[in-house]
């Protein structure tokens, strides 16, 4: 990065964090203000904070890489979200407001007793505590590999800054910083889209780029085939995605905490619905940037492996001659692909349909050969460096940014990734601290704490969870694809938590005595299914939820049979 990039990165970060702390400096004198914010936020702040909490760095690193390799079908994960936002707005948010809760899990106590509240809060803490570590680790490892930053310092730098402003300014500072961080993120996506189109050869227009992307099926965002093992199709997206979103936005404190800071029920609802409208187009835009990067690399040869640091390490082993041969083959194949792509563009601009189809078939055939070379290179690297992760899709986008964006904009895009990481971690830490304080520490101790004790405990637990996240990030190893790892982790627990909430809100017959054992059994079953079957992860949201409801109902009928009114 150039000095200009550093200026953009550090200047934007200092401005946003400084402003967030300044405008919320009076909001942390009481525990209530610290935990819930000043409850004066407009729907714009609520909406952007909700969006920023969900959009982690993984969104900006993995999603374009996923589109580069697999096209736009990942978008289907979000198809259930708009409907879920409506359900949350209609049924859950009004009850949270009416009961004046700080955390979602208080509702479980109001309905079922303290056991259900502690269970719901504990499941949240377990999965969100782990997820916070991954949220921090994911960008750190990639920034380390591509920009040469030391891993430990990067983890501590991001984690330390987030802990500082979350602990100093509480929920209000989190929302204020998230609002501006999200604006920078949206700006960054727009800039990346413009630059990638600008970097295409002069003879290639946007329509030609889309024709090239379409040749590889990269624009197919919707798949209709029903397949339980397929992670992304319209059915798993609408059904599984609906339950995932319902659980995430309706019961996950990192989101509930965001919209309970709204000025009124209306502002909170509008903030959520804003996300229901904007999320799919925004994700589509990010995926499209990844697809355009793929098209761009048809004309400019991409590296044989996007994790260049790993490739260099492998080249320093006995595998060097084999890798040199693959590099040579790769260069030749990419030259051929460039020629093929130009032929497709020429046919699209002035040829017949038959000529276009013939050129597209040639391009596809040559691309398959080049892909084979890339796969072989990964195998060679894996053999040369046993135990190292050779999947490089998470490195594609930042590697493009680093190589092809002008000075200043590289700093902006790195800021986007750092802000995305910080905004989601801040939301998570704030929620983890609040839930631990209120649902466990305050609820389970004998004496009611005073305001000072409550404020101190909230800050202490936030720092503690920040420390856990930093420690976890420092020892984590790269998992499959990062975004999937977080989603899978969430999906294993979300179904059970959602089951608890749906039972509380909608099934009056279920008793408090039945719901806790039912939820525990459902959770164990979901984990067992995950370990022994290959069901697509989105389905676990539905399975876990259905199991809780069914088991709780059966157990209620067994232990509390309906009394005959005539008896």
């Amino acid at each position: 990065m150039t000095p200009l990039d550093w200026l953009v990165l550090l200047g934007t970060a200092a401005l946003i964090i400084g402003r967030g702390l300044w405008v919320t400096r009076r909001n942390t004198h009481t525990a209530e203000a610290y935990l819930r914010g000043d409850t004066s936020q407009s729907w714009v702040t609520v909406g952007l904070a909700v969006m920023a909490t969900q959009a982690s760095a993984i969104t900006f690193l993995s999603v374009p890489g996923q589109a580069y390799e697999d096209g736009m079908r990942f978008l289907q994960v979000y198809f259930g979200m708009p409907l879920a936002m409506i359900v949350v707005s209609v049924f859950l948010v009004p009850v949270y407001y009416r009961l004046k809760v700080y955390t979602a899990y208080e509702v479980l106590e109001a309905r079922f007793g303290v056991g259900a509240r502690v269970l719901g809060a504990s499941l949240f803490l377990l999965q969100r505590g782990l997820a916070a570590g991954i949220t921090l680790y994911a960008p750190a490892i990639i920034l380390t590999a591509l920009l040469g930053w030391p891993l430990e310092s990067t983890v501590w730098g991001i984690g330390g800054a987030v802990i500082l402003y979350t602990v100093s300014g509480g929920a209000a500072a989190v929302a204020q910083t998230q609002k501006h961080q999200m604006v920078v993120m949206l700006l960054g996506v727009a800039v990346a889209a413009v630059v990638v189109v600008w970097r295409l050869p002069e003879s290639v227009g946007v329509g030609d780029a889309l024709t090239l992307a379409g040749t590889f099926g990269r624009l197919d965002a919707i798949r209709w085939e029903f397949n339980l093992a397929d992670r992304y199709n319209v059915w798993s997206g609408v059904l599984g995605g609906f339950f995932l979103s319902l659980s995430y936005f309706g019961t996950d404190q990192s989101q509930v905490g965001r919209y309970l800071g709204g000025r009124s029920l209306t502002e909170s609802r509008l903030g959520l619905l804003f996300n229901g409208v904007v999320k799919i187009p925004m994700q589509a835009a990010i995926l499209l940037v990844g697809v355009l990067v793929f098209v761009f690399y048809l004309f400019e040869p991409p590296p044989l492996h996007f994790n260049q640091a790993l490739l260099r390490q492998a080249e320093a082993t006995a595998a060097a001659p084999e890798l040199a041969g693959l590099q040579q083959r790769w260069q030749d194949q990419r030259a051929l692909l460039r020629h093929d792509a130009q032929a497709v563009v020429a046919a699209a601009q002035g040829g017949t349909l038959a000529e276009l189809q013939a050129a597209q078939r040639q391009l596809l055939a040559d691309q398959q050969l080049a892909e084979q070379t890339r796969r072989t290179a990964k195998l060679v690297i894996a053999k040369a460096l046993p135990g190292r992760e050779t999947k490089d899709s998470d490195y594609i986008f930042l590697s493009f940014v680093q190589r092809w964006l002008p000075p200043g904009l590289v700093g902006l895009l790195v800021a986007v990734i750092l802000f995305a990481a910080m905004s989601s971690i801040a939301g998570e830490l704030s929620a983890l601290g609040t839930t631990t304080t209120l649902d466990l520490w305050k609820r389970l101790r004998r004496q009611e704490p005073d305001q000072r004790q409550l404020l101190f405990a909230s800050r202490a637990f936030t720092v503690l969870w920040g420390g856990v996240a930093v420690a976890f990030a420092s020892v984590a190893s790269l998992l499959d694809n990062l975004i999937q790892a977080v989603n899978i982790l969430g999906s294993l627990f979300y179904g059970t938590v959602l089951g608890l909430f749906l039972a509380a809100f909608f099934v009056a017959r279920i008793s408090g005595k039945a719901v806790v054992p039912a939820a525990l059994t459902a959770q164990v079953t979901v984990i067992a299914l995950y370990l022994t079957t290959d069901i697509g992860f989105l389905w676990y949201n539905l399975i876990g939820c259905a199991l809780v409801l069914a088991l709780a109902l059966l157990l209620t009928l067994a232990i509390e049979p309906r009394r005959d009114p005539a008896a």
Binding site: P94, F112, G214, L219, D220, V277, S511
Partner: protein, 53 residues
């Protein structure tokens, strides 16, 4: 221990959407319609620039 939850009252004035948006059911309908339009646009994009058969 099991208790029914407090119900939100739909007549509560704070539940009204801003006048510009009309009623809540209309707001919800537009949220869904907008997403169908987005999905249709993406489907059309893939059809227009689709792969060779």
């Amino acid at each position: 221990m099991s208790q029914p939850l407090a119900k939100a009252t739909p007549t509560d004035a704070s539940l009204d959407p801003p006048p510009l948006l009309g009623s809540w059911p209309r707001v919800y309908a537009w949220v869904l319609i907008s997403q169908f339009l987005v999905a249709a646009a993406l489907w059309a994009l893939a059809r227009v620039y689709g792969a060779p058969q």
